[in-house]
């Protein structure tokens, strides 16, 4: 029997699950279909909630810049647009309430952990100047403190003595990313959403300028709107309906240590890696940013680089055992901003992807505005700047 739903969300990572939750909350008849592919970004995320940190490049951004920028010079290229910083900050502000809701509706504890904030550690003059540039660019309310090495060590006693100083964002914390996705999913199901796991969307069904459903093996699921939340694979999915979506996989490799007693108070980052201790005691060290297509292997070079960078920053990690190493594929975009909302000239279709390195922190607000867009409600944040059409425009302008 052919399946029908008002909305079908393709992709059960953190974004697809958040959208499903927000739609279910609005009493929309929604079906989430998911095929767990190796390398989904949600499973390799550190779970850092670093809205300002990521927006100004003090999280994964600086690592990305170091490996991709031609000049290697730390400058304002690393700063993402101010509206995106506001978007992330607003999204982040929902977490305390969200943690309680997901627990209440779905029974999942997302391990939201307020700690000593995010500290970017700098080791040389150039990095110090960059921190100053970031500090000057930020509005007062963003609360970036520049700390001396001594002050940083007071907050985080295990830090190396080679430190020059640190920039601290005291309100930036962490969650368990996989439990966050699971929590959204469970809450959505509890609110009436349907979930089919191990179900691969083979293609989007297009009739003229309208997307009318999803082909799943022999079956066609029809719906009024399809949400493309297929992460790094979103471009491939869109392509099946002749929609061009400039998404590419950006591989990130992460290292996880054995369970340790409490050693870190803050989330730490530097130009080589970021380091944070998860709730169950493991220390997570991330992450590379590589263009390796859909290859999800790990490389000895990256693993050893991350371990070296972590031990240089927190020397007591030296004798700690490594539990596992794995990788994930971030859905990357050229301007490092997500792709949300409808496509020009195509109905019945909605993007919710391109989260790149901010998908976790962006998920609450992304879920909301995509659901609001579908249900014609007033949006909690303007979606215009995230539309896919911006890429066409940029191409036209440069021509």
């Amino acid at each position: 029997m052919a399946k029908t739903a008002e909305v079908i969300v393709v992709g059960g990572g953190v974004i697809g699950s958040a959208v499903t939750f927000e739609l279910a909350r609005r009493s929309v008849d929604v079906l989430l279909i998911d095929k767990t592919l190796p390398g989904r970004a949600t499973s390799a995320s550190a779970g850092g909630l670093w809205p300002v940190g990521e927006a100004v490049g003090l999280g994964c951004g600086i690592i990305h810049h170091q490996s991709h920028s031609k000049s290697g010079v730390l400058n304002d290229e690393l700063l993402l647009p101010g509206f995106f910083r506001d978007f992330l900050a607003q999204s982040n502000s929902y977490f305390p309430e969200l943690a309680a809701e997901l627990k209440e509706f779905g029974g999942v504890d997302i391990e939201y952990e307020p700690g000593a904030g995010l500290m970017f550690l700098y080791f040389n003059e150039e990095e110090k100047q960059f921190v100053q540039l970031v500090a000057d660019s930020l509005p007062q309310e963003n609360n970036l403190e520049v700390l001396s090495a001594l002050e940083a060590k007071e907050i985080e006693p295990q830090l190396t003595g080679d430190l020059l100083g640190a920039a601290r964002l005291a309100d930036e914390h962490q969650v368990n990313p996989m439990l966050l996705a699971e929590g959204f999913k469970r809450a959505a199901i509890a609110l009436g959403a349907e979930f089919r796991h191990e179900t691969k969307a083979a293609e989007l069904c297009r009739e003229g300028d309208k997307i009318v459903g999803v082909q799943v093996e022999e079956e066609r699921f029809s719906c009024k709107t399809v949400v493309n939340a297929a992460g790094a694979w979103a471009g491939n999915l869109a392509e099946t309906a002749k929609i061009r979506l400039p998404i590419f996989p950006v591989r990130g490799q992460v290292v996880l240590t054995q369970t340790l007693p409490h050693v870190l108070n803050a989330c730490l980052s530097n130009s080589g890696c970021y380091i944070l201790q998860k709730k169950h005691g493991e220390v997570l060290i991330g992450s590379t940013t590589e263009n390796a297509g859909f290859d999800v292997s790990v490389t000895p070079e990256a693993i050893t680089h991350l371990c070296n960078a972590a031990v240089r920053t927190v020397p007591c990690l030296r004798h700690v055992g490594i539990k596992r190493v794995w990788s994930g594929l971030r859905p990357g975009t050229q301007d490092e901003l997500p792709i949300l909302g409808p496509m020009e000239n195509i109905s019945g279709y909605m993007n919710a992807t391109g989260g790149f390195r901010t998908g976790i922190v962006a998920s609450p607000l992304t879920g909301r505005i995509v659901a609001q867009q579908i249900t014609d409600q007033e949006l909690d944040f303007p979606i215009e700047t995230f539309l896919a059409s911006r890429f066409k425009r940029t191409a036209a302008e440069t021509r």
């Binding site: 191990e198 292997s297 000895p300 693993i303 371990c307 972590a310 031990v311 004798h319 055992g321």
Partner: protein, 473 residues
Amino acid sequence: MIQRDLVIVGAGPAGMAAAATACRAGLGVTLIDENLSTGGQIYRQSPAALAGLSVPTGESSLHGKQMIGELESLKDQIEWLPNTSVWGYFPERRLAVRSDRGWQIIAAKQIILAAGAYEFVSPFPGWTLPGVMTPGGAQSMVKTMNILPGSRILIAGSGPFLLVVAAQLHAAGAEVVGVLETARRRDAFRHLPSLFSYPKLLRQGRHYLQQLRKANIPLHWGHLVTSAEGSECIENATIAACDGNGRPRGQASTIAIDTLCIGYGFVPRTELAQMADCAMEYCELIGGWIPQVDATFETSVSGVRVAGDGGGVAGAIVAEIEGTVAGLAAAHQLGTIDDVTYQARFDPLAKQLRKLRIFRSALDRIYRIRPGLLDLACPDTTICRCEEISRQEIEEGIEFGGTNISTLKVITRAGMGPCQGKMCWPAVARLIADKEGKSVAEVGNVRVRPPIGSLAMTDLLTELSLDPIQEKH
């Protein structure tokens, strides 16, 4: 990067045979083992300092000494890397190794994985108490350290290995109160005709039984341990007779002991093969998930072979022949022996393996893992030891939607520990299969990630040179 001709992982019977064969056939051989000496678990030798103290050894151990001696005579031609563990497989036949001096990548034209097997214990109440250990663990305490694991020992589980360990512990001075074999005597009799296919091995089995009789150690077929009790460590074991499915029946009784050695056979160590992306298949009777291989033990990944128990549990004799075949095939593939020589040596080995297979599969059927064993675990029995997750928590997780590996891991944390699910997955997969009405094969296997075994951050801080390391002893 320098590419070695042949790198062999594991220096047990399969690895040693492969190394000697390939070396004589003209290949450059690199042999890696995490232990300090060759021999593997079965032919493990006492350190020289303890040689005089070691336990009396049997016929098979003499053969092991011979193999070790043979390899010793080739040691100038073989690159022998002891105390070195392989923590990852990377594409293009690259192995990441670590030793106490640092880490390096070793690339090879041909690889033979001969990693052996680890022991399987089905969870039961009290199995995490101190004093409960595997027969292999007790064996290596006696063999390498000359330490007795306890003074009053009960041995339980399934398989001929129990008999070997019982005799060794007795010879080393422990009181072995008995051996409980889950298989029933009639299971053994039913397959007796097939066991006559390889009289030499049958004689060996009889020898084990005689040893036990001489030592006055009772062997109880069709019995099992249903639980272990004790406050600080094991004090009592509850035992019962069981039916053909391993379900206890009749009156249970209690026996006072200080050590319980329990093992239900072996699970192949396939982590490297999995990491190399070798196609795997599920074969319950030989230990679960194993790599698919051709007649020369080559996996679906070109140039990567799996020999010995690591490719399906079959014991030392089979392992040695498989290692020999794999070593020959590697030499043949690299062109150091011609087609005619290769075929002339391959055919008789293949014939011998076919014959052994009849014997082995009868043993596998006698000692198969009974489905009832899993029912021994109570709701509060720990299943995942790394993360201390109970059966009830796992079943609730499955109920909650954790019907596949990744979701169950996220919800319950079972399998998230340092063993990566190696210990608990056979039991967890069965719990999912039971609840979902699926087969264990359909439930699938856990994904293996580097590192295999223990690896500290400090191990990765020094990269060794890429030149072959010459270790001379």
